[in-house]
């Protein structure tokens, strides 16, 4: 598609939507959000970019085959479950550490977040794989 308006908008929307997707991802543990929605928003951002410019531009931005993202995301999610086994607990048991960050206070970081990150990457990878193969046909 050759539309100046869409191209200009996509250029500005891409970083904003990606930031928002990360916000959704981090917020997901206790409030609405999470890896799945975050991944959807991120893929929407990148697909918008691909429609505004072309798929080659998207591939350049991505720097890797979207199918690799599926594998990476799955491994991250899998590892997040395996951590518990090392501690002698059942698979997928949440492992938490508290982190005191100056200015923000105490924050809990745990394997459920890692799992969500995995989901985020898988959703992104799957969506981009599907859309790219449709767009490039």
């Amino acid at each position: 598609m050759n539309s100046l308006i869409l191209r200009t908008a996509a250029q500005y929307l891409l970083p904003i939507m990606l930031l928002f997707s990360v916000f959704l991802l981090l917020r997901g543990h206790q409030e609405p959000g999470g890896g799945f929605v975050g991944g959807l928003v991120a893929s929407a951002a990148l697909i918008l970019y691909a429609i505004g410019y072309d798929t080659a531009a998207l591939r350049q931005v991505l720097r890797c085959d979207p199918r690799m993202l599926i594998g990476v995301g799955l491994s991250v999610a899998l590892v997040s479950g395996l951590v518990a086994l090392l501690n002698g607990q059942p698979f997928l048991t949440g492992q938490w550490v508290s982190w005191s960050v100056p200015g923000i206070g105490e924050i809990d970081v745990g394997t459920p977040l890692l799992f969500d990150v995995g989901v985020y990457i898988v959703v992104l990878g799957v969506n981009l794989t599907i859309t790219l193969s449709l767009l490039e046909q």
């Binding site: 690799m68 599926i70 594998g71 491994s75 899998l78 086994l85 607990q89 059942p90 938490w96």
Partner: protein, 537 residues
């Protein structure tokens, strides 16, 4: 804490993950697939060993306690099924080494195969109905792609029927799960077993019928089987073989699980219906097979007819209530499943070799294969076993089922089982005469490449499975004893309940109390039940 129980799901998932990362390197994927399948088989043997030695194993995934979290449970029946899945996985992984074309490999054949195995093992091991639904979906999505991978016209045509019917079945499944949750407030199967006792029989029977429809579609019983012969002969033979061996059996497994653990309130209705379905499935399947003249379509119709036998054991179990005969009927069913998975996968693998030699699955184009004695014997072992000739595994499977029918004085179903068995023999004889005995058709119309050789690696899984068929037949005693043990665990669910929900009666009371609280004030209960990250376990 029981890691062994998680491994049959984790290993195929991990294999699929790593295979996805090496997407563009089929050679690496091939060996990874083999390694993963071998590891799965190893773990499943260890699991069966452990369950037999130490009783039913359970693990609460994520350490969320029983009726709220997801429980994985392995009783003997589940462990036997996981072992069979591991065995079929490895056989097909070996067979795939030399029979899957590069195009399919590059488009993710190996990751999908292992996702399929993960789904199958997950469905066998889960103790939670909604989780069962999820594993069914994992398995179905992988099977959709495996079925259409390659995009040949026949494949897509078969896939449309397969996908439509299976999606319909999933929708019914979800509805049934939702109603059950609405009625009882739980989906943990052990917990459901306790709670369903207080639910009016009419409601339970309705839900039971919904489950019968959904698992009936997946298990391909009469009258919901037609998607199976329409699709199973279209993908590459390695895919057909694993579908034929495992997928419908997951449906049968789910039927046996819910109709032994959950829905025994009104067996005079539900299990009589199952008995009718069993008989009609056997007959329609075998009659369909007689009308077919394509190697894999004949075999597909026989899957349907054999499913009837497995359901027959389940039906007889419910109808003879808590007598020793009930355990015997169910044991016959379990033995039948074990025998059938091995034999049917093997027959499909043999049809693939025939295809390599003659370039066709049509019986009229085949012929002259009897000049290869090894191949001929490797066909005869599973074929005669399927028909039920002694001393092969199928003989003992059918014998015990028919004994069970006589024991309960259900003579009609015994007569049906015997007749269908004879007609199965007819079908196998047809394949034997057409594909093996008659001389090779001289004029091949120049279409099909006739080759002298097939890849010798293809013989490895085929002979291994034939050997297992023989072994099951020759050591039918010990194998049947194992099936009886598994059936007794299903008949008397106390062991299962204790393994899932914990020892004490106090525990039970607490669960019931929580359930009442959640019924009266859902919001209060959800706060109480759902721990926040702050007070993590």
């Amino acid at each position: 804490m029981n890691t062994l129980l998680v491994l049959p799901i984790l290993i195929p998932l991990a294999t699929a993950t790593v295979a996805t990362l090496s997407w563009r390197k089929p050679a690496l994927d091939r060996w990874l697939g083999l390694l993963g399948a071998a590891a799965l088989l190893g773990v499943s043997i260890a699991l069966l060993w452990r369950v037999r030695a130490e009783g039913i194993q359970a693990v609460q995934v994520g350490a969320w306690p029983a009726p709220y979290g997801i429980t994985l449970v392995a009783d003997l029946f589940a462990a036997i099924m996981v072992l069979l899945a591991g065995l079929m996985g490895l056989s097909v992984a070996v067979y795939s080494l030399v029979s899957i074309d590069r195009g399919r490999e590059v488009f993710g054949y190996y990751p999908l195969l292992h996702v399929l195995l993960a789904g199958v093992c997950g469905a066998f091991l889960t103790g939670d109905l909604f989780n069962l639904y999820v594993w069914f979906e994992v398995m179905l999505i992988a099977s959709f792609v495996l079925l259409t991978l390659g995009g040949e016209r026949a494949q897509l045509e078969g896939a449309i029927k397969y996908v439509t019917l299976n999606l319909l079945s999933s929708a019914v499944f979800l509805t049934a799960v939702a109603i059950l949750y609405g009625v009882t407030g739980t989906l943990n199967m052990a917990d459901l077993h306790n709670k369903l006792a207080t639910v009016p029989a009419g409601v339970t029977t309705t839900v039971a019928m919904l489950f019968l429809i959904t698992f009936g579609i997946k298990a391909a019983v009469f009258p919901l089987f037609f998607w199976l012969p329409a699709s199973y002969h279209t993908p590459p033979v390695a895919v057909s073989a694993i579908f034929a061996g495992l997928l419908t059996k997951v449906g049968v497994y789910a039927l046996i699980r819910v109709f032994t653990l959950l829905f025994l309130q009104n067996p005079a209705y539900t299990h009589t219906l199952l008995l009718w379905i069993a008989g009609l499935t056997m007959i329609t399947g075998v009659l369909g097979a007689i009308a077919q003249h394509e190697f894999r379509r004949v075999l597909s119709f026989h899957i349907v007819s054999q499913i009837g036998y497995m359901i027959m054991g389940l039906a007889l179990f419910g109808l003879s209530a808590s007598t020793p005969l009930a355990a015997f009927s169910l044991a016959a069913s379990i033995f039948y499943i074990a025998h059938h998975i091995v034999v049917k996968t093997n027959l499909f693998l043999v049809s693939g070799i025939a295809h390599q030699l003659r370039g066709s699955y049509e019986l009229k184009d085949l012929g002259g294969l009897a000049s290869r004695p090894a191949l001929a014997i490797l066909f005869l072992v599973p074929a005669l076993s399927l028909a039920g000739l002694p001393p092969l595994s199928g003989f003992f499977a059918k014998l015990s089922l028919i004994q069970a029918a006589f024991g309960g004085r259900y003579f009609a179903i015994a007569a049906v089982a015997l007749t269908v068995s004879l007609l199965t023999l007819y079908s196998m004889t047809k394949i034997w005469i057409e594909a093996f005995w008659k001389p090779a058709p001289s004029a091949n119309n120049g279409q099909n490449a006739v080759r002298d050789k097939y890849h010798p690696v293809l013989l490895v899984p085929v002979s291994a499975l034939a050997l297992i068929t023989l072994l099951i037949g020759l050591s039918a005693g010990p194998v049947f004893d194992l099936s009886v043990e598994a059936a007794q665990q299903l008949q008397d669910p106390r062991g299962y309940l204790t393994a899932v929900l914990g020892e004490t009666a106090e525990n039970q009371k607490r669960f019931e109390h929580d359930a009442r609280a959640s019924l009266s004030s859902p919001s209060a209960a959800s706060v109480e039940v759902w721990p926040r990250a702050g007070d993590r376990p």
